[in-house]
Amino acid sequence: MTTIHKFGATPISCHAWSGNRSELALSHNSKDVTLYNAKGQGWEKTAVLDQHDLRVTGIDWAPTTNRIVTCSSDRNAYVWVKGPDGQWKYTLVLLRINRAATCVRWSPEENKFAVGSGAKIISVCYYEKDNDWWVAKHIKKPLKSTITSIDWHPNNILLAAGSSDFKVRVYSGFIKEIEPKPSATPWGARMPMGNLMTEFSNSPNGGGWVHAVSFSPDGSKLAWAGHDSSISVADAANDMLVMKLKTNLLPMCSLTWIRPNTIAAAGHNCVPYTFIVESDAVKLGSAMEEDKKKESSGKTSAMDLFKNKDKLGQNELETKLNFTHQKQIAEIRIVGGQKGDVDTFSTCSLDGKIVVWNLKTLAGQMKGLKI
């Protein structure tokens, strides 16, 4: 079943859940981040984080250390820590970029985070204890355009970045000051900081911006969604084979792995879809929601029919989409479970709703659901 949470009618551009999933941070496409606490059936507003000057573009909440990082078009990122008095204290992180920050993600061990920006730079930031300060290291080559999305590999070192130059790149985000040298992975053995491990082009024809990237739970595969309505998966264990599926749907904006071989993606179609990854191809699974066609009441008289035809040029007034979300979905986040073993996930959309999808009950309800 799906649980719908309404937060007004303004678009929700990004959201993040706390570690215990009782708190939610979201931004309504503005410079503020609002924190809510689950209270009974509804939500109680607990805090407003309003240090940014311009629109907040990314929020990420580290589950174990309970730190929130936010990045914004004002070229800054703030790390928020909850003090003993319950107030959120902020620390400015100097990213040293001269364009907007577009996306931010904590690393799996939460000792560093990566920020993508329009300055063709990825800033990997870590905490330096001596100076009580977050230091940013830059990854520059060979980025040629804005980074649109970022995802960390489970080994806490590798980083995938999707960009608007139609390419997906895997970099090493190794910071020698804070962590030991990593062991070899299918993506490569030598991992100095900023090293480009591999690069994938979305399509030989150009193919549209890359909207979202995600490593598989074991880190051997990398999935991305492009604006040419395609989902692609690269398999490092299989000699960097790229499997691409060009869908018949509108482009997807966000994706994640819900099973070791299944991806859930959502975007301009306003409903999440599943994609099954087989050994040499990606196949469309199913939509997570059936097209709830409203049955016409049957009592529409002939007069009403012609009245509508005259006034509106069509038989009935259908402005509502037959799905839960009425506008495109901006982000998918895992709520219950881990990547690869997800019980519930949430989608936030431009219609102001956050919908939590429960896979178990959905599988029971929808006969055609392929996970």
Binding site: K144, S145, D165, F166, S203, P204, N205, G206, G207, G208, G226, H227, D228, S229, S230, K246, T247, N248, L249, L250, P251
Partner: protein
């Protein structure tokens, strides 16, 4: 007054080329030798009244991303001849025989055909558009818009 007030030549200089932030595309130019579909083969198939086969050859042979305008116009004219030659009743079968890649290329040709309407061409193209759309959905139209290498 400033010294140089008579000449306006400086206005013709394109300052954007000197901007460091400009996105420079990868110049993987298409091999000019691999130009376009085989004209003679397709014309002969059309003459032999086998327009559906001509269509398959046209689409498999079409190269995307050719910079030469004359070649692109020639390729478009050829494509239009083939599309017009296939009757409305045969379109369904023709589309069903194509694979996904070729359907995307076909959709690109259809939209290019819309750009230069001849008599009666748009109406026929609309029928084509509808048939391809039923099979390939909005995805193929999105790819017409996003693929950088035009047909």
């Amino acid at each position: 007054m400033a010294k140089n007030t008579s000449s306006n030549v400086f206005r013709t200089l394109d300052v954007d080329q000197y901007n460091e932030d400009n996105y420079k595309e990868d110049n993987d130019s298409t091999d000019p030798a691999a130009l376009g579909p085989n004209d003679t083969l397709i014309t002969s198939l059309l003459a032999a009244n086998k327009p559906v086969e001509a269509l398959t050859h046209l689409l498999s042979g079409a190269t995307l991303g050719i910079k030469d305008q004359a070649a692109r116009t020639a390729s478009l004219t050829l494509a239009m001849r083939v599309l017009m030659a296939i009757k409305a009743s045969q379109i369904d079968d023709a589309v069903a025989q194509l694979d996904n890649e070729n359907r995307d290329v076909l959709m690109k040709f259809i939209y290019r055909g819309f750009e230069v309407p001849n008599e009666g061409s748009s109406a026929h193209l609309l029928v084509w558009h509808e048939k391809v759309f039923t099979v390939s959905g909005v995805g193929s139209i999105v790819r017409v818009l996003t693929d950088k290498k035009r047909v």
